[in-house]
Symmetry: C2
Subunit: 122 residues, 2 copies
C-alpha cells in the first residue's frame, strides 16, 4: 500500500524536478525553480523534511548530494486527485468532469479527441 500522500504545492513542485530528472541535486532544483524565488536554503529545508518523511532519499555521489524520489509521481497524483474528488465531489469523478466542462476548462471537442485516442490505443 502506498498510503495516502499529500504534498503542498511547494513540495510538489520540488518533487516534480526530481521526478523529471530521476534525481537531482539541491542546486539543480534551485535552478529549475528559480522563477519561484525561493532561497536555496528554503529548498534545502523542504528537501530535508521530505527526506525525514521518507518521500525521498539522498545520497552523496562524488561531491554532489543527490535527492531521489521514493514515491512515484503517478501514485501521488492518484492519491491527491482521489482526495480532491472525495472532498469536493462526494467521491464521484464524473462530477469533477462535469465541473471541468461547466467551467469551460475543457470542452466537447476535448472529450471527443480523448475518446478518439482511446479508440486508437485499444
Amino acid at each position: 500500500m502506498t498510503g495516502t500522500v499529500k504534498l503542498s504545492d511547494q513540495q510538489y513542485a520540488i518533487m516534480q524536478v526530481l521526478w523529471d530528472n530521476g534525481s537531482a541535486s539541491a542546486k539543480q532544483v534551485q535552478i529549475e525553480l528559480a522563477d519561484e524565488g525561493w532561497a536555496h536554503t528554503t529548498i534545502g529545508t523542504v528537501l530535508s523534511r521530505l527526506e525525514k518523511k521518507d518521500i525521498l532519499a539522498s545520497e552523496t555521489v562524488g561531491r554532489e548530494r543527490k535527492y531521489r524520489p521514493l514515491i512515484q509521481e503517478g501514485d501521488v497524483k492518484r492519491s491527491m486527485v482521489s482526495n480532491l474528488v472525495s472532498a469536493l465531489f462526494k467521491g464521484d469523478s464524473k462530477q469533477l468532469l462535469a465541473h471541468l466542462l461547466k467551467e469551460g476548462e475543457i470542452d466537447k471537442n476535448d472529450l471527443k479527441d480523448i475518446g478518439d485516442l482511446l479508440d486508437k490505443d485499444k
Copy 2:
C-alpha cells in the same frame, strides 16, 4: 476578485454543511458530520477560525447562533480544482481528464453520457 481560497478537507466538509443548508448552527454541523467523530468543540474551533478569515459569518438568531457562508461553493471548487490542475498537470485540464481515464476513474461511456447531456442542454 474572489481571490484564491483553499480549504482543508475538514474545513470543506464543514462548509459543505453550511452550503447545503444555506446556513446552520454548530449543532447541526456536528450532527451531520457525526461520522467524522469530531468533538463539538473541535467543530466550534474550526467555525471560529473560518469566521476570522471571513469565509463565513455568524449571527445570533433567537437563541441560536447561525453560521452562514460568505463564499460560494462553486468559487471554492473552481479555485481548488484550478490549483490542483496547476500544481499537478501543468495547468492543463485535459491532462487531468486523461488521468481520470487512465486511472479508470471514469470511462468512455461516462464521456459519452456527458457529451450527450451537453447536446441536450444546448
